[in-house]
């Protein structure tokens, strides 16, 4: 692939600010992909993205834009499922599984094991009354926005 004379990307700092699966997965895939390419990666979870690293919420994330997904999928046999959000979420997670894309918890573990740094936002931890014990083991620390910029030194910052 042509890369001309541009300096290659060496580090990414990805901010995940939402908790819907369609907004969470791109950030996780980009962070993991960076590590797989030998780059450094930082993940910073803020606002509702904090749910992704919160123990009692991380396994309950759902697809939010159900209509958008329904337009890409064959109509279900029989009547529409009562809980369409859960139906679409289950379909997508099954599809991910078949593509070797792991569930959120395992994905965070992969990223952390690959040397990715994972942080939660201090303001949101304060707002939601969360301590480090409420967050999954992969979270390195709860940090301020100033510290987020500090750990992002030299990185391309990507907001999702």
């Amino acid at each position: 692939m042509e890369n001309n004379n541009y300096e290659p990307v060496k580090k990414v700092s990805i901010i995940i600010s939402k908790n819907s699966l369609e907004n969470v997965y791109p950030g996780l895939i980009m962070a993991n992909g960076a590590l797989m390419e030998g780059m450094d990666a930082v993940l910073f979870f803020t606002f509702f993205g904090t749910d992704v690293v919160t123990k009692n919420r991380m396994d309950k994330l759902q697809i939010k834009d159900v209509n958008n997904f329904m337009s890409h999928m064959p109509a279900p046999n029989g009547p529409m499922p009562e809980n369409l959000t859960q139906f679409v979420t289950d379909q997508i997670m099954a599809q991910f599984d078949s593509m070797d894309i792991p569930p959120v918890g395992e994905f965070l573990e992969m990223i952390h094991d690959g040397g990715g740094q994972i942080f939660a936002c201090k303001a949101m931890a304060d707002m939601f009354h969360l301590t480090k014990d409420d967050l999954c083991d992969e979270v390195d620390d709860i940090i301020s926005v100033g510290k987020m910029y500090e750990v992002s030194a030299g990185a391309q910052i990507i907001y999702t």
């Binding site: 590590l35 797989m36 070797d100 894309i101 573990e109 094991d113």
Partner: protein, 105 residues
């Protein structure tokens, strides 16, 4: 086309240094490619991963990306990064003499 000179043999490689033909691969070539990637000595752990890379490539026509590699080899992600630092799937593929994996995860 780019080539490597290893023990008097001229071996064609692509622009990223991956072997063009797996038939050119042997353990000496692997050791040469590993050194290029900063791995001084190939241990049993490396060879086990290399074997899985080649087996998957022969079966599917493509090298496994990271999660598939971890599942197929039974080697945890953390250990893969220790064996092949800074990009285990692509480095293991290069040392194994197969093309760079194209998977995203």
């Amino acid at each position: 086309m780019a080539t490597l000179e290893i023990n008097g043999k001229t071996i064609p490689v692509d622009e990223d240094g991956y072997l063009e033909n797996l038939e050119d691969w042997d353990k000496e070539v692997a050791a040469f490619l590993a050194k290029q990637e900063g791995i001084d000595t190939l241990t049993d752990g490396h060879w086990a991963v290399i074997e899985v890379m080649q087996k998957t490539f022969k079966e599917t026509g493509t090298g496994p990306s990271l999660r598939k590699l971890s599942k197929a080899s039974g080697v945890p992600t953390k250990e893969l990064y220790q064996l092949f630092p800074k990009g285990p799937a692509k480095k293991a593929a290069k040392v194994a003499g197969i093309p760079k994996p194209t998977g995203c995860v």
